[in-house]
Amino acid sequence: MKILVCISKTPDTTAKIAFTQNNTKFAAEGVQWIINPYDEWYALVRAIELKEKDPSTVLHLVTVGAADAEPIIRKALALGGDEAIRVNADHHDSFYIASQIAAIAKTGGYDLIFTGKETIDYNGSSIGGMVAELLDLPYISLAVKFDLEGTTATVVREIEGGEETDSVSLPVVVSCQKGVAEQRIPNMKGIMGARTRPLKVVEPVAVEALTSVVSFELPPAKAGVRLVPADNPEELIRLLHEEAKAF
């Protein structure tokens, strides 16, 4: 059993979002970087749990990023995993990233590929589906529960207004969200162990990006809150109805 978990690097959830160079670049100065929460808390932790259940499982992590992604992938390795792979490319187009992951997956022969639900900076929610298509594998999006029995996975996923339980034979690509696992805190043993586990750097395959960011924009600031006295909540309903025309 071989599992690949896709790890991306994102600004901390409390990071100030600002742009430089005429609004074309994210202002990364002073920003704390973290493992994308969906990748860490759900995809990676579930994969570690599967390995704990079946220690013969081989668990690899992959990130597509420049050298500055190394602390992040190291941090992920400290949680668990046998080996990390960094594809040495700093690119933000989903198709480009998915193509790199698919290339790694092709040579690695993985039975299971986990991604997070989405990156909290780009919010594409697309890379899992693209990787699946490039590998011609089934894709189960937005999993909230994942179980494995032999080579059959039972996955509960979120669908419009409800949930669906699916059964599928490996190999499969699954995007993970809340419910799949519980967040873990790395321990000292893991952190020390991660230093000795290999981090392989591979060069990207040649792929053309299909999209590019022209510019960023911040939403207009709110005009300020209009407070209604607590003893007159009817006034709030009137304002929402007549002034804001919210219903």
Binding site: N123, G129, E163, S167, L210, P233, L236
Partner: protein, 321 residues
């Protein structure tokens, strides 16, 4: 060269998000001086020709019962083939849960650039640039699509469905659908409730409500307003509410017309999922709660006193009391 819009449906009905996508696609087509066509896999009870009122000239349908369930792999291939068969150069999805499952597959198959989470019509004055949400609602990015075929997934509630007179021609799509590799064991649909991502009004509760037993008033206010219910992350973590109600950076991102937050502090990670709401009303007993900075309207007060009065006021307004 045409615009092809994927029409998502469940339980025999076209989803509201797809009506928005149809109108959006029709507007894109007009901008490009071409025609908009719809694509429906499976069957619905509605009269498809009538969807012409959203601006589409033609609807391609593969009326196969097995397609009434969306399998990402099967759908991805059929849609990609439909794109080739119709010669479409722009493909529109709703960025709802179905769109998130299928649009990336279609884009990868066609080597087409994808913008997932579009919030406005493309700028076609110089290329094809689409505005999308990034940083979990804290910013927008303008993304240029450079591939010959372009795929755009429109965020629900960001483009109003428009109608005018018009009938669409319905044509059978001649494409072979594969057998799904994924077997559906069971599905539960929270029936009677408004799906959170489609809801125009959302009433949400946080830890300030003290416990699950106090959600009756949240649900009643929601019911009266035809709203969906939501909650903050600690509320879902404590199992006071189901996790699929959790909104925020690590939960669902929503953009309703009105978001009413009751007993929620307004942490940055919570705001990330709700800050695209058009109007935000906050009820919190702490005047310093950060949520007031992101709100349009607010009441500084105790939810247990304020909410029952809001319920009474809505009932009065709707002639129910």
């Amino acid at each position: 060269m045409s615009v092809l819009i994927f029409i998502d449906h469940s339980e025999g009905h076209v989803k509201k998000a797809s009506l928005e996508a149809l109108s959006y696609g029709a507007a894109v087509a007009q901008q490009l001086g071409t025609t908009a066509e719809g694509l429906l896999l499976g069957t619905v009870t509605e009269d498809l020709a009538a969807l012409g009122k959203y601006g589409v000239k033609k609807i391609h349908q593969l009326a196969q019962d097995s397609l009434n369930h969306l399998d990402a792999q099967v759908y991805g291939k059929v849609i990609a083939e439909a794109v080739s068969a119709t010669g479409a150069t722009v493909v529109i999805f709703s960025n709802n849960l179905s769109g998130k499952a299928v649009a990336p597959r279609v884009a990868a198959r066609l080597k087409a650039g994808l913008v997932a989470g579009a919030v406005a019509l493309p700028d076609t004055s110089n290329g094809f640039v689409v505005k999308k949400n990034v940083f979990s609602g804290k910013a927008f990015a303008h993304i240029s699509l450079t591939s010959p075929i372009k795929v755009v997934a429109l965020n629900p509630n960001s483009f109003a469905a428009k109608t005018s007179d018009g009938q669409a021609e319905v044509a059978a799509l001649n494409v072979q659908a594969d057998t799904p590799k994924v077997k559906v064991v069971s599905a539960t649909q929270a029936s009677g409730q408004v799906p959170l991502t489609e809801a125009e009004i959302v009433v949400s509760g946080g830890r300030g409500l003290k416990g699950p037993e106090n959600w009756g008033m949240v649900e009643e206010l929601a019911r009266l307003l035809g709203a969906a219910t939501a909650c903050s992350r600690p509320v879902a973590d404590a199992h006071w509410r189901p996790h699929n109600e959790h909104v925020g950076q690590t939960g669902i991102a929503i953009a309703p017309n009105l978001y009413i937050a009751i007993g929620i502090s307004g942490a940055i990670q919570h705001l990330a999922g709700v800050n695209r709401s058009k109007v935000i009303a906050v009820i919190n007993k702490d005047p310093e709660a950060p949520f007031f900075k992101a709100a349009d309207y607010g009441i500084v007060g105790d939810a247990f006193e304020v909410v029952p009065k809001l319920i009474a006021a809505v009932k009065k307004l709707k002639g129910l009391a």
